[in-house]
């Protein structure tokens, strides 16, 4: 049985795409076939983590939404770009980086129902074990749809007042949409913080399971999205925590 996992954060800059790419990689390392869809159409970016340049993107989610191809034709295998010895497979459906394409989405919108059918088709055509959806920050119709059809939702937040309030909104929406499993991840936590205390406080605030508290990491910052952290630093404590989150998602 394949799983759909949405990764969301109410505000931008939380490390949402980075976490999505790392979790996808760790799930593939265990031999799974993992699909990743970048639904952040107005500000795409996850393709960078998988080593794709703008010119490498031959077809995008936009082309599918505009009826120019089926969704699997917009999926690109990125496994070898992440690392040679990965047991499973990683497929990415990127969003277009062309300014004209982004403008067209904003101007015309699209039938969001296409996303639902596209996810189904992608899972069937690529025989995916896991489909990960990198969502647009905040709430819009695409995000609500993605959350509604997900088996699990990962909400990323930083220990920041703006994130605290926004996260409450997403948790509430997930509850109303009866998402089977919602996990919180607190990211970029200053090293001076007591992670156990942060975990307890966040869980108490949202009455929602915290899958991990990830400390700020200089190595992650230095990597600056030029690769997948968990693959480059397999024994880093942050990687260990990410692995733990990945395992929880598969429970």
């Amino acid at each position: 049985m394949s799983k759909i996992i949405s990764v969301h954060s109410f505000r931008g800059g939380t490390g949402k795409s980075n976490t999505t790419a790392n979790l996808a990689t760790l799930l593939a390392c265990d031999g799974r076939r993992v699909g990743v869809v970048d639904t952040d159409i107005s500000s795409p970016g996850i393709h960078v983590l998988f080593g794709l340049e703008e010119n490498d993107i031959k077809a995008s989610l936009n082309d599918y939404l505009w009826g120019q191809c089926e969704i699997e034709a917009a999926a690109q295998e990125v496994t070898s770009r992440v690392g040679a010895a990965i047991k499973g497979r990683i497929f990415l459906v990127p969003s277009s980086m062309k300014p004209g394409d982004i403008a067209r989405v904003l101007r015309e919108g699209y039938d969001v129902g296409l996303l639902n059918d596209g996810y189904e088709r992608l899972i069937d055509e690529l025989k995916l074990d896991v489909l990960m959806i990198d969502t647009h920050p905040g709430l819009n119709e695409e995000t609500l749809l993605s959350i509604a059809i997900s088996d699990a939702l990962v909400i990323i937040m930083r220990p920041d007042s703006q994130d605290y309030q926004g996260t409450a909104v997403t948790v509430e929406v997930a509850r109303k949409l009866d998402v089977p499993r919602t996990l919180l991840v607190v990211n970029k936590v200053p090293n001076s913080f007591d992670t156990a205390e942060v975990k307890a406080r966040v869980e108490k605030t949202y009455k929602c399971e915290v899958a991990g508290v990830l400390p700020h990491s200089d190595e992650m910052m230095t990597l600056a999205s030029a690769g997948i952290f968990a693959w480059r630093y397999p024994s880093h404590p942050v990687t260990a925590k990410l692995r733990q989150i990945a395992a929880m998602l598969m429970e």
């Binding site: 699209y110 039938d111 969001v112 129902g113 639902n116 059918d117 189904e120 059809i149 929406v173 949409l177």
Partner: protein, 422 residues
């Protein structure tokens, strides 16, 4: 009416010898002159057979000339009838009063028969011209209405699609036969979601003629425009108490009542049209039954909303009815907060969906008997090799049935047929 230049005159006044003498002179000149010699002095008495001209004697005892003139002028049928006053030489006040109220002219005693005849001749001519002008205006008005209706008919024809989409492996045909110049029915078909879906509509405004045609234009335009609005307002409900239900339109156990391709368009088209009409035109008390189908031509899956319309049929290749797609909500424009449910059906190869307005089953024969759904089903049960052929069969049967009778209601049909795999 004035005949051969000589008209019918009515002399209103007492039993005075000089009036008799005037009448005599007029009859000698070829006019017909009747006399009204006693009270009640009211135009009611000659209204049913109006004279061509009135001669009113101001010296008549018990007669209030001003009131009489006013009454004549207030009457729709008499207001153009010329009135000439017969007055005493010193009664200029009475004459002025009556002229102000609409009398045409006057003669002062003693009355000259020559002057009288001259006035009668002139005013009868004026009356004749007035009548002609009025008839011409009436005729022009009718011509204008007829012309307007023809223009309306053309404009309405422009509200129907000039071409129906014909996706590979499918055939779509339609018929439209208004009972009058303009109709309250319409059909429509167009592609949506970048050609991945075909939306088709059949609707019947519950009224006839021009009001129904105007309403039809509104409903058709709104459904088409709202079907192209990608974003669905219903998602906002998630954040309120009436959240969407899990379950429902489930694909392989996953997915919930969340949009799939084309369902937002379907929901928006019907729900938003209903809201618009009830919000803005609620006082018109008009509504339309409407069936909106959203077809996936790649697999024959049909999502639909049936807003109070008579159920379309899905007919199997052997002519048996596989399904009747019953109502999933009330007629559009009826209830402000109506809910329109999306249902699903499947059209397999060789099957045809047939949708119609009740003008079909309610066609009457010369004995005023209805065509009935039973007769319709008999024709549908005869397999046809194309959508157009099926509609031709039905149209032929309807024409035959109504021979010698008048068509009462608009007849509209649409057939969507999935070809057999070759």
């Amino acid at each position: 009416m004035v005949e051969n230049g000589k008209g019918r005159l009515l002399v209103v006044g007492g039993n005075q010898p000089y009036l008799k003498s005037l009448s005599h002179h007029l009859e000698e000149a070829g006019y017909r002159a009747a006399q009204m010699e006693e009270s009640p002095w009211t135009p009611e008495r000659f209204k049913s057979e109006p004279p061509d001209m009135l001669l009113l004697d101001l010296r008549t005892p018990d007669l209030n000339p001003a009131r009489f003139v006013a009454q004549v002028r207030a009457d729709e049928g008499l207001r153009d009838t010329p009135i000439v006053l017969l007055a005493a030489a010193d009664d200029l006040t009475g004459v002025e009063q009556c002229l102000a109220l609409g009398a045409e002219d006057y003669l002062l005693a003693p009355f000259s028969p020559t002057l009288l005849k001259s006035q009668v001749h002139d005013y009868l001519e004026i009356a004749r011209q007035r009548h002609e002008a009025r008839d011409r205006a009436k005729r022009d008005e009718l011509l204008k209405i007829e012309h307007d209706l023809q223009v309306a008919r053309l404009i309405q024809a422009g509200f129907l699609p000039t071409e129906l989409p014909q996706p590979a492996g499918w055939e779509i045909a339609a018929r439209f036969q208004p009972a009058r110049e303009v109709a309250g029915d319409f059909y429509d078909a167009f592609t949506l979601s970048q050609n991945r879906r075909i939306g088709f509509v059949i609707a019947d405004v519950v009224d006839k003629g021009v009001p129904a045609a105007l309403f039809m234009a509104l409903v058709r335009s709104l459904t088409r425009a709202f079907a192209r609005q990608n974003y669905s307002l219903s998602w906002a409900d998630v954040l309120e108490e009436n959240r969407p239900q899990r379950g429902g339109a489930s694909h392989k156990g996953r997915g919930h009542a969340v949009p799939s391709t084309g369902t937002n368009a379907l929901k928006n088209a019907v729900q938003l049209t209903n809201s618009y009409i009830t919000d803005n035109h609620g006082e018109m008390n008009m509504f339309a039954t409407l069936f909106f189908g959203m077809l996936d031509p790649s697999n024959g899956q049909l999502a639909y909303i049936n807003a109070g319309h008579n159920p379309p049929f899905i007919i199997r290749p052997d002519g048996m009815v596989k399904a009747a797609l019953k109502g999933t909500g009330p007629a559009v424009g009826m209830f402000p907060a109506a809910d329109f449910r999306i249902e699903y059906a499947q059209i397999d190869p060789g099957e045809v969906l047939y949708a119609y307005t009740d003008g079909v089953t309610e066609v009457r024969d010369a004995a005023r008997g209805f065509f009935t759904e039973k007769r319709l089903l008999t024709i549908l049960n005869r397999p046809a090799d194309s959508a157009a052929a099926l509609l031709d069969h039905i149209e032929g049967a309807l024409q035959q049935f109504m021979t010698g009778a008048v068509q009462f209601d608009d007849i509209t049909m649409i057939a969507v047929r999935r070809m057999r795999a070759s």
